[in-house]
Subunit: 200 residues, 2 copies
């Protein structure tokens, strides 16, 4: 889709660098993502990255922001699908959250690294706000939401449990030997129990 003539100016280096982060992270893990490796992958000198990102941290922040948007999108899709199938939207959204972590562990890790990204970056904060809005959107049918601005105890429990299981799968000792299918079943079972807390 894009022309690949090697000009002195790359054209859209910022986005290409983000794609390089994507590729390296999925292939070799977050820890293997290095500024120089990204530059090499794009076919550009290492120092050129600094024309578009003030820092490596800024680059990782942009990547994290992108990842959050992807997750939010996956959740929105899951909710839509559940609604049209007249299924439980809450469980569908929660499951999408966990499934994203299973499918793209490096992306999921990148999103939540206070020490590696600028968590007070404007775009990043905006993305997390969008994400929590999607979460509340998924909960809306199940949980009575009085205040759309802050999280209720129920909503906090829902987010925590889903976020927690995702983390336990990705970076914890839970479900270590098991297949993805089995982990999905574990998630579904947990969500089922969770629903009980909301029904009364």
């Amino acid at each position: 889709m894009k022309k690949e003539k090697k000009t002195y100016h790359h054209g859209n280096l910022a986005e290409s660098l983000l794609n390089a982060v994507d590729e390296l992270a999925t292939k070799f893990g977050l820890e293997a993502v290095t500024l120089r490796a990204c530059a090499k992958l794009v076919g550009v000198s290492p120092s050129s990255a600094f024309r578009h990102f003030s820092d490596k941290r800024a680059l990782m922040t942009a990547f994290a922001t992108k990842a959050i948007h992807q997750l939010a999108h996956a959740m929105a899709l899951a909710k839509e699908q559940a609604n049209s199938n007249k299924e439980d939207a809450f469980s569908a959204v929660g499951l999408a959250y966990i499934e994203f972590a299973l499918d793209k562990p490096a992306f999921f890790r990148a999103m939540w690294r206070e020490e590696t990204i600028y968590t007070n970056d404007e775009n990043y904060i905006q993305a997390t706000n969008l994400l929590s809005a999607h979460l509340q959107g998924g909960f809306a049918e199940t949980i009575e939401d009085t205040d759309p601005e802050s999280f209720s105890s129920q909503e906090l429990l829902a987010w925590s449990s889903v976020h927690g299981m995702a983390n336990l799968f990705v970076d914890g000792p839970v479900g270590k030997g098991e297949t993805k299918k089995q982990k999905i079943i574990m998630a579904k079972d947990m969500l089922k129990v969770l629903s009980k807390a909301f029904l009364q």
Copy 2:
């Protein structure tokens, strides 16, 4: 100035290095923990570390293992205290989990870094097993535990929610502007809702 009795051999360098990791992590964050800085803090050459740890990763694994034991200890203490006060052991253990993350965020982060530690290290695995045993111990009075080996859906929900909230506090957007006291209240409220799911 007087001569410090610097012996050529340090004595217990391995443990001293772990203490250095501790100090640097709490003072400047996990990302600031560097092998050379640890060596300098102990007053020893960088290469000496490799006589006791094969890797930086091995050092961080030992640190993570130590941190997990600390967390397990805090949970055991909380349970004991709750029992002698005839209070809810489950909530106490869960709260201890979250409070540990709030008090020692760098330690909590270090425990769950698949890419930075050797998660199949024997001692590390043993520590996580101990931790999950303590979790189940805390749940025992509240949750009907049929199989002590594997986790039931209820137990998984309990661990996930507590682990999730801890992570959302430490590395996520939740409770960002709030004090520790407020966060503890949020945790207690969540645990209260959670109990409902178990009382049926």
